[in-house]
């Protein structure tokens, strides 16, 4: 059965007041390597059927991956049973209608990928292994490409389709004894824009910088955060920007005395943190497709169009992630979450290299790792620098220093940043598993808190 036929069949079987059917058709291919050799690989194909049965304000949500004809009816009935057993939902709202939603190419088939997506990449990778071996270091990394086509059909007449490509390359170079390492990464829609030789050159330059080792104690340092590191901090902040949590006083976005911090200035720089389904090269789904509700998304909002949203504009908090339900509580517009994130500063054109050139003394990071919440009141997170921390003196890289554990809040980083460079697409190292579509500006922070030294290399 085609995904459209599965969706129509499920809707036809539905007996509740309302029904939404999601069919995700996915294919993927991946390669993994270590020590200049392949370690694992694979191709997958799959289909997930999710049925959301609405019985008045009650909701039942059931998903299955083996979608046979019998399984379709079983899934519909299971969702209806779950709805009948449930209590009325707080976020209940009329289901979205075609008049409120976007048009989409419903009739088109699911888009697919295969191991062939690496046809040009694999030989280039083999050449990179050879070059790395000749230079005395090894490459480690991962390449994956996925294509998921989502079909959303509703009893109110919605017929929506969205194909979402998702690809990434990560590449680490290490010397034989592991005392020097570096990393680069890239998100991609189709691997046609991946130039592994260019990545290898970046790695070689940074390994070369690391030949001179310098000692620095823990402390606060002027720090240049590259786009990947900024991406990890901003993604964490974005995940915390849930309006319902803020209005209930549970997050760093609450206002003492009640309400949220919307309208408060968070940064001195004219920073813009935003999402946009049409972000160039980083396009994301233009409508909500949620298999279940949470505090951040409502299943009742399925099919709601997603639009460009500024979360922070000119340094001021302008929106938090809202469902129709939470928007009713906060009195704010519905600003639903979108699957990409950007940070930029008006008028900033300096590249990271140019920011290095104007640094008298400071640290240049490569990326962040193991970022975890320490204190939700301030959004204080801890984490590590990874695969290259460089001391910059007089506008040039003087050598490599040790890694550090940091304790910082992304909100404090925004507040204290003194310079933002030119935004560019980037892959957040820590959260790249979940969030590959980011476009971030590098930031200069005058006093980044390196809490302790990590001997890891």
């Amino acid at each position: 059965m085609t995904p459209q036929e599965v969706a129509e069949r499920a809707l036809a079987l539905s007996r509740t007041d309302g029904c939404i059917v999601l069919v995700d058709d996915s294919t993927s291919a991946n390669l993994r390597w270590a020590g200049n050799t392949l370690t694992t690989n694979g191709v997958t194909e799959g289909r997930t059927l999710t049925v959301l049965a609405f019985d008045g304000a009650r909701l039942g949500a059931v998903s299955r991956t083996r979608v046979t004809a019998d399984a379709i009816e079983a899934t519909v009935r299971a969702a209806e049973d779950a709805a009948a057993e449930s209590e009325p939902e707080d976020d209940a709202a009329p289901l979205i209608t075609p008049a409120e939603s976007v048009s989409a190419s419903w009739e088109e088939p699911a888009e697919r990928t295969s191991i062939g997506v690496f046809e040009r990449f694999a030989p280039a990778l083999r050449d990179a292994f050879g070059a790395a071996g000749a230079a005395g270091h090894s490459l480690y990394g991962y390449a994956e490409h996925e294509l998921t086509t989502t079909y959303l059909a509703s009893s109110t007449g919605l017929r929506l389709r969205h194909p979402q490509p998702h690809g990434r390359l990560e590449l680490t170079a290490r010397t034989p004894n592991g005392d020097r390492s570096s990393w680069t990464g890239q998100g991609t829609r189709d691997f046609r824009d991946v130039d592994i030789a260019a990545h290898a050159r970046v790695l070689a330059q940074r390994l070369d910088w690391s030949r001179r080792r310098l000692e620095l104690p823990a402390g606060r340092y002027e720090t240049l955060l590259p786009p990947s590191a900024v991406g990890d901090l901003m993604v964490y902040a974005y995940w915390s920007m849930t309006a319902l949590d803020a209005v209930e006083g549970r997050t760093a976005f609450r206002k003492p005395g009640g309400g949220t911090r919307i309208g408060e200035r968070l940064a001195e720089l004219p920073l813009r943190l935003y999402s946009d389904p049409e972000m160039s090269g980083l396009q994301a789904a233009p409508f909500i497709a949620a298999g279940a509700s949470s505090r951040r998304v409502s299943a009742f909002d399925n099919g709601l169009p997603l639009r460009s949203t500024d979360w922070i504009r000119d340094g001021e908090l302008t929106a938090l992630v809202q469902t129709r339900h939470s928007a009713g509580i906060t009195g704010q517009p519905v600003t639903a979450q979108v699957g990409n994130l950007g940070l930029e500063a008006a008028g900033s054109q300096a590249s990271l290299d140019e920011m290095v050139a104007t640094t008298q003394r400071g640290l240049l990071l490569t990326c962040l790792w193991y970022v975890r919440m320490v204190d939700p009141q301030t959004l204080l997170v801890t984490g590590l620098t990874r695969d290259g921390v460089f001391l910059v003196e007089g506008g040039e890289v003087a050598g490599a220093v040790t890694n550090f554990r940091f304790n910082e809040s992304p909100l404090d980083v925004l507040a204290r940043a003194t310079e933002a460079g030119r935004a560019e697409p980037t892959l957040p190292r820590e959260f790249g598993d979940y969030f590959t579509r980011t476009r971030m500006a590098p930031l200069r922070v005058p006093d980044f808190n390196m809490s302790s030294v990590s001997p890891a290399s």
Partner: protein, 512 residues
Amino acid sequence: MPIPTTDPRTDDLGDLPLDAVTDAALSRARELGAVHADVRVERTASRALRLSDGRVQTAHTGEDVGLAVRVVVAAGAHHSTWGFAAGTDVSADAAARLASAAVDVAAVTAPVNTEPVELADEPVHQGTWISSYAVDPLDVPERDQVGLLAELSGRLLRADGVRHADASMLAVKEVKFYADLAGTRTAQRRVRMQAELQAMWIDDESGRFESMRTLAPPAGRGWEWMTGGDGCWDWDREIAELPGLLLEKATAPSVAAGTYDLVIDPSNLWLTIHESIGHATELDRALGYEANYAGTTFATFDRLGNLQYGSPVMHVTGDRTAEHGLATVGWDDDGVAAQTWDLVRDGVLVGYQLDRRMARLQGLGRSNGCAFADAPHHMPLQRMANVSLQPAAGGPSTDELIAGVDDGIYVVGDNSWSIDMQRYNFQFTGQRFYRIRDGHLAGQLRDVAYQANTVDFWNAMDAVGGPQTYVLGGAFNCGKGQPAQVAPVSHGCPTARFRGIRVLNTTAEGHR
């Protein structure tokens, strides 16, 4: 405890053509030259519930069914290479097609492979295995599960000082069938439960808030974990105590950063074991396979047998056999039977966690059975066994350990965690921190984190508690591998005492 004894092959997978799938996949792989081939058929059912202030926020039931074929193929002049393919159509035709696809993947990627894939020998196994549980949580009506969580939330919300109460539950039933060219045929069913409740205190005027959650660990048990009896969690006691403990924390003094002796409860120490021992003794990390992602380890292969990992009272085992353990299995995803072994003995590194390929690669003989894939569409990796710190026979109670501290902190419950990519530098917080003065508890502290280097920390352990302090903790969500996989794993440990550990004030860390 009565354990369901039905056969997973008929009871859980009876609607799937296992024999036909096995024959089709393995015969096609053999025809195409595979020197090893295995096929997995999996059905994993799960239910996730989240309640906020007694109202359902998330309710979702899912079932993931799939088929995976993995081969080792010696392609032309190239080294023998893995190939893997997976899908959700469980039929003989699909199995044959996936076997062909797996061989194709091996052929495409063989030129990039510079090390032959060879597997350690393993006896042929045939049988079924079922984890130790009484009540299948997926058979319990969702209404009853929501009702229990709502009732427990209501008790918290009625208590003084509790503004919000969150509750969550995740129940999983995982069924795996495995067959390989050597003749192994196994089927197993594992059931696991995780639930927690959190209470939150808020001061409206200042905006300050504090939270505290239950210490109940996830367990390889069924719905009985929630309803009590026979070693199951005492939810009534913990829910009754939580609001008072939260209020005490909310009004507790902020810790003075410095160096303290720590007595660490199993409810916190399991996570430190997980991060600083469990991951550090994975051989794939030592060999660099995770260098791009999860990281490597300071416990490199050349230090096997000579690394003084910790003090002489440190004895750490790996196992896939502990009753109710989250990593407990009958056989792993390489078809290796479950075992128990030493990782650290008398404080010295003596073992690693292995799969069949690495065991052969490093000349370590038989694999100790740590291969695992979290879903049918993922290739098995070396994943963590139950890694546990053993108690001291006849060892002290928690009170006796505290009595040996003049100036310290007693740490209870896990919270924030982070460790570097070689497993040296870590930082943990917790749910509750009690000041210890002159061998006695002297009220709670807040804003506490402890930070250390792994080897320094375990060498600072001067005493471990007796078996009466031992608790099996763990997590559902250990992450590793690319594509990323999550694995459930348990860690048992007694209360233990550590001398001279750095303690941070988290509020001060965030101030500028």
